[in-house]
């Protein structure tokens, strides 16, 4: 009784949630700024600001993933005994999320704008 479920769930998947937030925010931003409506309607920001917005978003996501990865690796190193599935899940998802965010950033660097 009284067992926590959602906190470990969040702990194990937080890096992947950050990846998801970064990916979908980037996609929505690009779709909104580069779509037909952006040329004619009053949207929150002009197209010229898109690279800066994407860069800010990506730096935040990469920073968060790096922080989580650093904490997870510290915990794995410091664990006197087996860190269990949750410890590995946190570290593993941090590595994969970091990779995912970096990968998402590549087209932003190469293409630059709409």
């Amino acid at each position: 009784m009284g067992e926590r479920f959602f906190r470990p769930l969040l702990y194990g998947t937080l890096p992947l949630l950050i990846w998801a937030a970064h990916f979908f925010a980037a996609y929505v931003l690009v779709a909104a700024q580069c779509g037909a409506a952006a040329a004619t309607a009053t949207l929150p920001s002009p197209r010229g600001a898109l690279p800066a917005m994407l860069a800010t978003l990506s730096v935040l996501a990469l920073g968060a993933c790096a922080l989580l990865l650093w904490r997870a690796s510290g915990k794995l190193r410091g664990a006197g005994r087996d860190p269990g599935l949750l410890g590995w899940a946190h570290a593993g998802s941090a590595v994969l999320a970091m990779l995912g965010v970096v990968w998402t950033c590549v087209p932003m660097l190469v293409i630059g704008g709409c």
Binding site: E3, Y27, V30, G35, A37, T40, A89, T104, M108, G113
Partner: protein
């Protein structure tokens, strides 16, 4: 296990006289024609698997028809229109009636035993999901014989499938039939998620849970988030076809691309929804066949979860030629490559396990090796088609047909056949023939590669998919003939397997035992009731690490060795540590799920052919069936607590977050919210195409009306909270129905305000797509009002009959959750409708 440890087993010997007979009596499966009223996971699981395999054969025959037609150029075996129906039904039946159902079916059959549960927590829901699928699916397939089968391709793109270009009923059958079958799949997913989280054997922590259960948990969650998009999409397209609401008609502000977004937001995760269970099965079989623990078990679990996440970012990689922006496509292209990483982690872990162990080359091993070869090849071509310029070249060619068959047949059919070879002994103790297995594998593996490898080349030579014939001078003749020969070779392998399976299942039953020396609990001695006692699990490979476990379980030395209440029971454990929490009384066999499923299928199918009166009669039967089945549940337990071992006494039943029904309701509401989010997405997508929002001749409702509506919704929720509280404090039983009815009046009035606001604003859903999306949001809220009306009346009836008490309050608690959700949804809908035009300026 040491004698000292053995003495510490949960239940001691000798067991009381009559304990086993009482357990058998509670779980007895009805014989004869009453078998079809059975809801036990073993019965339903086998029916489910059998039906899914039947659809595999039927869709396979359609595939053979296609290959026969394409064997030679300018063939006249099938007319163009017939060919359109055949390839549409081949894809649709394979994806919706075979691939998804078979993975759920195997899970329904295997998981309870693998987890150490007596059954899944909602056996009647499993039965309902199966019967709805079986009846609806067979009726859907029969449309072929009347020339009414859908013919717009398995992903049904408008405008081809709009009323103008598909005026017949064919597309309607797809939209209503598949939409309804998806609801059945979601019901199955809810059952699996709750079952995996709450009915594991004591001690089976998440860390010790079999990888297959992990895979099914991830898949269940993926279904919850992916399938609502297709339900919303089919609802919108059917509304367009039936009532001329122009969501996808470009001339009236609609956008056919909207359908593609909704379809593929479901369709791409679906590929992984099909693959991950197969991967879970592979991760379960390989350690057994190699005789060594799985290498990188934890990494595989993380990879499964990561694939679940990444798969939702790939939907537009099916839309690279649809005119999306370069950066949008590139983001998805990058995600398409990222998903290869966690997938590769699993493949390397399997190879490492095989490398470390002593592999027995038997039937299941052959199919697992075949799977790895074919799936890795399909994965590589998947990375190729994720590259934009290459994708543009091969889009809609036979290269894509080859790729998707390598992924789906390699990634799912071969593992399923391995699973059938591996787990069929559970049914009657007999193994499939090993010599025949080699023939089956050779025919299927050879036939598959002969059929589909040449398609890469035909695709690169420019042959488009879905053409019913081709000219003789294009250089495709030999390749097509080879593909056809391969397809028939593959079919011969499947036929041989069917013959061997029938022969095996007709043999006299014998002791199942543990023929492969597996480590997982499904190989414990098992009957209709599952295991005699529910095992205490202490490791990741319980049958390897606890060699006496089978004998102990069979002797009744673990938990719940009998039926305490004389009814069907299982133990509910906590979701992370699997600590025993309570005893759950499970519903028994009943005809109501079958009746409700037949009514539901009848409603959708008859509605499609415009037999409105008969359709509504079926709808009434469905609702009656569901109410009758639910009415028998949620009653006070015959006793407050049950002794499940020598030292452990658990409460019977639970309320709130400890109750499986609470979890099921929460998951159902997540599905609901995701459908709603899909409608909101449609509204935003259409709005973003406008230069002026709202468009000319359309207007927003006066803010007074949504404001009033929100106030009434909040008042209704407050009244419902008071009603719930009146049961908490135990003084308000007579008051409860009246409070619920007052809440219902508030909710009805709120909808009237919304409706009136839009009426006064001149909302005309047929005039333009923007108005249609507003009307769709309003209609979805109206659907919830209707649902809440039924739920409130049902709750009042139970209250008046004295069935709502502190000891039987699940109906009240779950209705409260749905009620508050409806309030929240109504307010969000109003907010979205009013905020988006403001953002658009």
């Amino acid at each position: 296990m040491t004698p000292a440890a053995s003495d510490a087993l949960p239940s001691s010997l000798p067991r009381p006289a009559g304990e086993l007979e009482r357990l058998q009596s509670a779980w007895q499966t009805p014989a004869g024609w009453r078998f079809f009223s059975s809801v036990n996971n073993t019965s339903i699981g086998l029916l489910y698997i059998g039906t899914a395999l039947l659809f595999f054969l039927l869709a396979g025959i359609l595939g053979l028809l296609m290959r026969a037609q394409l064997a030679v150029p300018e063939n006249t075996l099938l007319a163009a229109a017939t060919y359109n129906q055949v390839f549409t039904m081949h894809g649709t039946v394979m994806m919706f009636l075979f691939a998804i159902p078979i993975v759920e079916a195997i899970a329904v059959y295997l998981l309870p035993n693998m987890l150490g549960a007596r059954d899944l927590p909602f056996p009647r829901l499993s039965a309902y999901a199966f019967w709805a699928y079986a009846i609806g699916g067979l009726a859907f397939f029969c449309t072929l014989f009347a020339g009414l089968a859908p013919d717009g391709g398995w992903f049904m793109y408008p405008p081809l499938t709009g009323k103008e270009y598909s005026p017949g009923l064919n597309a309607d059958f797809w939209l209503l039939g598949i939409g309804f079958i998806e609801i059945s799949a979601i019901a199955g997913a809810i059952e699996l998620i709750v079952g995996i989280l709450l009915t594991r054997a004591p001690g089976m922590t998440l860390g010790r849970m079999p990888v297959y259960a992990w895979a099914m948990l991830v898949v269940g969650v993926m279904i919850v988030f992916a399938f609502p998009a297709i339900i919303a999409g089919t609802a919108l397209l059917e509304l367009e076809r039936a009532y001329d609401w122009p969501f996808f008609i470009a001339e009236r502000g609609g956008d056919p691309i909207l359908w593609q977004h909704l379809f593929w937001f479901f369709g791409h995760p679906e590929v992984y929804i099909i693959f991950l269970p197969a991967a879970g099965m592979v991760s379960t079989m390989i350690p057994t066949l190699a005789g060594t623990p799985l290498v990188g078990r934890r990494q595989i679990v993380v990879a499964l979860v990561a694939v679940g996440f990444f798969s939702f970012a790939l939907w537009t990689h099916h839309m690279f030629t649809a005119g999306l922006g370069v950066l949008e496509m590139s983001l998805v292209s990058a995600a398409s490559m990222a998903v290869a990483v966690p997938t590769a982690i699993q493949v390397f872990a399997w190879i490492a396990t095989l490398w470390r162990g002593q592999v027995r080359i038997i039937g299941p091993t052959l199919f697992l090796l075949g799977f790895m070869f074919i799936f890795v090849f399909g994965g590589l071509t998947g990375v190729m088609v994720a590259v934009l310029p290459f994708n543009w070249q091969v889009h809609d060619t036979y290269f894509v047909v080859a790729h998707l068959h390598y992924v789906l047949i390699g990634g799912m059919v071969f593992p399923v056949f391995a699973a059938l070879y591996y787990w069929i002994p559970l049914i009657n103790g007999n193994r499939l023939s090993e010599p025949v297995a080699r023939w089956v594998f050779a025919l299927m593996f050879g036939g598959f590669n002969l059929a589909f490898f040449p398609m890469h080349i035909t695709g690169l030579l420019g042959m488009p998919r879905r053409v019913y014939t081709y000219a003789a001078d294009l250089g495709w003749n030999g390749l097509n003939l080879a593909s056809t020969a391969g397809a028939f070779m593959f079919a011969a392998g499947v036929l041989l397997f069917v013959v061997d399976a029938v022969r095996t299942l007709r043999q006299a039953g014998k002791q199942v035992g543990n023929p492969w020396h597996a480590a997982t609990l499904e190989w414990l001695p098992s009957e209709h009731y599952g295991n005699r006692s529910i095992a205490h699990v202490a490791s990741m490979e319980p049958l390897w690490d606890q060699p006496q476990l089978a004998a102990e379980v069979e002797a009744g030395r673990h938990y719940l060795p009998g039926s305490v209440t004389g009814k069907r029971e299982t133990i509910v454990t906590s979701p992370v540590a699997a600590t025993p929490r309570c005893v759950l009384i499970l519903p028994t066999d009943s005809w109501w799920p079958l009746i409700a499923a037949a009514g539901t299928a009848g409603f959708f199918l008859l509605l499609t052919i415009k037999m409105t009166l008969a359709a509504w009669a079926c709808g009434v039967i469905a609702v009656t069936g569901i109410v009758a089945w639910l009415w028998q549940g949620d009653r006070p337990a015959p006793m407050a607590a049950a002794k499940v071992s020598d030292t452990l006494t658990l409460p019977i039943g639970a309320a709130g977050a400890a109750s499986p029904s609470w979890w099921a309701t929460i998951i159902m509401l997540v599905v609901d919210a995701t459908i709603f989010a899909s409608f909101v997405f449609a509204y935003i997508h259409i709005s973003m195409r406008l230069t002026v929002c709202p468009p000319p001749n359309a207007a927003l409702a006066d803010p007074l009306w949504p404001g009033l509506s929100a106030a009434l919704l909040l008042a209704g929720s407050a009244l419902f909270a008071v009603a719930r509280r009146s049961i908490d404090i135990g003084t308000g039983k007579p008051l409860l129905p009246w409070l619920v009815l007052a809440a219902l009046a508030c909710m009805g009035a709120s909808f009237a305000c919304d409706f009136n606001g839009h009426r006064l604003a001149g909302l005309a859903p047929t005039s333009d797509a923007w108005s249609a999306t507003v009307a769709a949001l309003l209609a979805y809220q109206g659907l919830h009002m209707a649902g809440m009306l039924l739920a409130a009346l049902y709750l009042c009836a139970r209250a008046w009959r004295g069935h709502v008490t502190r000891a039987s309050r699940a109906t009240l608690d779950n209705t409260a959750l749905m009620w508050h959700y409806t309030t929240l949804q109504g307010m969000c809908a109003s907010l979205a409708i009013h905020v988006v035009p403001k953002l658009m300026g």
